[in-house]
């Protein structure tokens, strides 16, 4: 415990080095190297702590207001999330070091001092053990990431993204503040221990839970509170985007888990139902949004929304089973959620690194300017392929294992007593399957447009492979994606203390013997998954396919200049190949025309007119359209009303005071009865 605290202090010191970066030689190396080393140590600490059974360690620090001490505490749940944060923190430091060398923009704002602060803030949230410390660390994390977003303030889109992010972050923190107020109740003790022992009941508990879902959900990106996320995440430098998307959203998931499974005590089943619905809607909407994007990083950010939806749905499953006292299946769903947390942090950071690599090579985030990068950047292309396959939940990669576990829990839905939940879970299962399929389509589109085909611009033609640090930064999560997909059982064993803490059961409780290479968590259905066999089968089949193609098909290939389709001087294949928008058109037509009001516009010139025909797509975000635009209008109107208070007469001010006094006195008189 003391080690975690001192590591956080170390990160703060590194931030101080970052402040004086211009006067210290090799400051970038010191900051990124130091942050990476500290993150690695913290990740190792959490692995060791989990492997050793993850006892609970608490510490009181003489910090904060004079009559208070800050309480910190690390239990198994904290350790799992510390592992997630610091694993990605380590690879992001490695990648960021290379990225800043390759892609340094002298006009951008400072990143060095804020980067360690951001990681320190996230770590502090995970070990906070009272509501004050939690909120301070939470706000610290939000503000540090906000400043990191602002580091690209020269981009025309960044100021708006940062403003919306700041508003949403403040809103989220305000909700959490109220939630903790409700949870602590009248006795006013904000230590988590005290909340745990006097958990509120009735409407206070429900309201507190809903506020936590809204507050932390706005940070995680639950629809319809996701609007800031696809603006702010892509605006930051790529390694910071990876941290925000892959890790900061997980800190929000931690907040939800901590409150709903730990602090609140015995949950009500319908809270889980709310989470299931929110999660499923978020998953589908997120992936549909992603399908519409032409901006590589924004696509990845929307895909984060989708994955958060999956995680929240898994947590909802765990909650309904916990409330129904079926701990074994609750443990299954909880494991699925935790596994998906670490999986998503791995492949989303990997994909963001990949987008950073592409950005530093092509100098654009627009898919329409990429293409054929697999020839120019073969190493990056392989890593991004691994990430894209993993996020599409293809076996034998880690994404598949998480979704598989979640579906095992969903298939156990009939074990619940409530009929409404039995039916709801079937629907949720279908929705999540749809989201998974759409995610696969979305990443085929992303990978195919960016890396396959022909270059769509001069930059793509002249792209160069990125430097070794960036390649290594991508290699680590890619290898882990494969490893966790092939051998998930040791990791689930590692996370078992956390599930035991949250739902009072482990995923393997009803299995006496569980070999390390075989994943068969519950005997309720009897399904099992073996990553090794899967990897072997896929490997052999691929070999056979490759050999067959080279033996029989490639032998007949001859190279020649194709017919130019009437294009003069242009590569016809580059011009007529599928674009990102044309690839997405079927799905856009099927889903987007109602949900997003997506419309294709073709501007066809008259015969004889020599200008080219134009095609463009318009769509609207229903969350903006239905919620935020009216809300903004309402706030503006209220602000106008309040503004009138500035220009009242003295007598009116006195009148306001008088009526306030009378109303308060009446309240006292009434409550005295």
């Amino acid at each position: 415990m003391a080690f975690v605290v001192s590591a956080i202090v170390g990160l703060l010191l590194l931030a101080a080095v970052g402040v004086a970066a211009s006067r210290i030689p090799f400051a970038r190396g010191i900051v990124y190297g130091g942050t990476g080393a500290l993150c690695t140590l913290l990740a190792l600490w959490s692995v060791l702590s989990l492997a050793g059974g993850a006892g609970t360690e608490a510490l009181a620090l003489p910090l904060g207001l004079p009559w208070m001490t800050a309480h910190v505490r690390a239990d198994a749940l904290s350790a799992v999330f510390l592992l997630v944060v610091n694993l990605t923190g380590a690879t992001a430091s490695l990648f960021g070091w290379g990225y800043e060398r390759a892609h340094h923009d002298a006009r951008s704002g400072p990143v060095l001092p804020l980067y360690p602060l951001f990681i320190a803030g996230m770590n502090a949230v995970l070990i906070a053990d009272d509501a004050f410390g939690f909120l301070v660390a939470w706000e610290f994390m939000s503000l540090a990431s906000w400043l990191l977003v602002l580091s690209t303030h020269r981009d025309p889109d960044t100021p708006r993204a940062a403003r919306i992010y700041l508003i949403m972050a403040s809103f989220g923190t305000a909700c959490l503040l109220l939630a903790f107020g409700l949870l602590a109740g009248a006795h006013g003790d904000y230590r988590f221990d005290a909340i745990r022992s006097h958990a509120p009941e009735g409407w206070a508990a429900t309201l507190g839970v809903l506020l936590v879902l809204v507050g932390a959900g706005s940070k995680a990106g639950l629809v319809p509170l996701h609007v800031w996320l696809p603006l702010a995440h892509p605006a930051a430098p790529s390694h910071v985007s990876a941290l925000m998307s892959g890790v900061m959203t997980k800190v929000a998931v931690y907040a939800i888990t901590r409150v709903l499974f730990d602090l609140i005590g015995e949950p009500l089943w319908w809270w889980g139902g709310v989470m299931l619905v929110l999660g499923a809607v978020t998953a589908i909407m997120g992936v549909l949004y992603a399908m519409l994007q032409d901006d590589l990083k924004r696509l990845l950010a929307y895909s984060t929304v989708e994955n958060i939806g999956v995680i929240v749905a898994a947590l909802g499953m765990a909650l309904v089973f916990k409330a129904a006292h079926v701990p074994v299946i609750a443990a299954l769903a909880m494991s699925a959620a935790l596994l998906h947390v670490i999986n998503h942090s791995l492949f989303k950071s990997l994909l963001f690194y990949g987008s950073g690599a592409v950005l530093s090579a092509v100098h654009s985030r627009d898919l329409g300017r990429m293409g054929g990068l697999i020839h120019r950047m073969p190493v990056t292309a392989v890593f991004v392929l691994v990430g894209a396959a993993a996020i599409s939940a293809l076996p034998p990669l880690n994404g598949f294992v998480g979704e598989w576990l979640l579906f095992q829990a969903i298939l156990n839905g009939p074990a619940l007593p409530q009929w409404s939940l039995k039916i709801l879970i079937a629907v949720i299962g279908a929705a999540l399957a749809l989201a998974a399929a759409l995610a696969a389509a979305c990443f085929v589109r992303m990978y195919g447009t960016a890396f396959l085909g022909r270059p769509r611009g001069r930059e793509a033609e002249e792209a160069r492979e990125v430097n070794a640090a960036m390649r290594l930064g991508m290699a680590v999560p890619a290898v882990l994606c494969v490893l966790l997909g092939v051998l998930p059982t040791p990791l689930l064993r590692l996370f078992e203390p956390a599930t035991r803490l949250m739902v009072d059961a482990g995923p393997f409780d009803d299995r006496a013997y569980q070999p390390w290479f075989w994943l068969a968590p519950t005997s309720a259905i009897g399904n099992s998954y073996n990553g090794l066999v899967m990897a072997l089968v896929i490997g052999v089949l691929s070999m056979v396919l490759v050999v067959a193609i080279h033996r029989w098909a490639s032998a007949k290939v001859r190279r020649s200049i194709p017919w130019g389709c009437g294009y003069d001087g242009l590569d016809p294949l580059a011009v007529t190949q599928y674009t990102a928008s044309s690839f997405g058109q079927p799905i856009r037509r099927a889903f987007g025309s109602t949900v997003f009001r997506a419309r294709d516009h073709v501007d066809m010139p008259q015969p004889g007119d020599t200008r080219p025909a134009r095609f463009h797509v318009t769509w609207t975000d229903p969350a903006w359209h239905a919620i935020f635009t009216p809300l903004v209008r309402l706030v503006a109107r209220l602000a106008d009303l309040v503004n009138r208070l500035q220009f009242l007469t003295i007598r009116r001010y006195l009148m306001l005071m008088f009526f306030a006094l009378v109303v308060l006195l009446v309240m006292v008189a009434v409550t005295q009865r």
Binding site: F647, T649, I650, R651, L654, M655, M657, F658, L661, V662, L665, V666, V668, A669, Q672, R673
Partner: protein, 220 residues
């Protein structure tokens, strides 16, 4: 049962409250000042009587202070200001007299309803006294908001102070320092308002708040 001390204290407190009501419906400035003087006299008598029944000699000092400042110095000074500045002598109330009276009666009801249950442990005299003085304070506030004239707002403010002093003398064992500070605060307020009035007069040639407000650029 027939406790003369209690009855007399009650009577004097009620007179102070009655004068507050009288302040509410005055339409002329001089009449307003006369009623205010009467209220101050009643307050002074109440303080003296409290000093007698509580055997607290320092309350006589309070009574004298009230008598001197509130009943003599301030009315005379305000009288002189009104004459010197040639202020329009009639007052335009913002709310009609009937409505103001109704509001006043409801405020008195409210303060009795409020004070009686809260102070069950205190003696009957203290409770009555607190209810009366809270009414006086609320009526003073009501007067401040229902009048447009600056001088009547000053008078309303000072009647609030009267209510406070009534509360202070009614509670046994209140040290003198409190009354002194209240008296001084009223004094300060009086000076501030006096200077304020002169300055307004010099600048705008009127003391009618409605006319003064129209001088502010952004107002309507």
């Amino acid at each position: 049962m027939h406790d003369l001390g209690y009855d007399a204290a009650h009577l004097l407190g009620a007179v102070v409250l009655l004068m507050s009501f009288a302040l509410l419906y005055q339409r002329r400035l001089f009449a307003l000042l006369h009623v205010f003087t009467a209220q101050a006299l009643a307050l002074s008598a109440a303080a003296a009587w409290q000093g007698y029944i509580q055997h607290a000699p320092h309350l006589y000092v309070t009574a004298l202070l009230t008598l001197g400042l509130k009943a003599i110095v301030m009315p005379v000074a305000l009288h002189r200001i009104v004459v010197k500045l040639n202020i329009h002598r009639t007052i335009e109330p913002a709310l009609s007299v009937g409505l103001t009276m109704l509001a006043g009666v409801s405020l008195v009801t409210l303060s009795i309803l409020l004070v009686m249950p809260v102070t069950e442990s205190a003696s009957a005299l203290t409770r009555e006294d607190l209810a009366l003085s809270l009414s006086v304070v609320l009526l003073g506030l009501l007067m401040m908001i229902t009048r447009r004239n600056a001088v009547s707002q000053v008078v309303g403010f000072m009647s609030i102070e009267n209510g406070l002093i009534l509360a202070a003398v009614g509670v046994a064992g209140m040290p003198l320092i409190v009354e002194m500070s209240i008296a001084f605060s009223v004094m300060v307020a009086f000076i501030v308002f006096g200077i304020f009035l002169f300055h307004i007069r010099e600048r705008f040639d009127t003391l009618d708040m409605q006319k003064i407000e129209s001088f502010r650029g952004e107002s309507h």
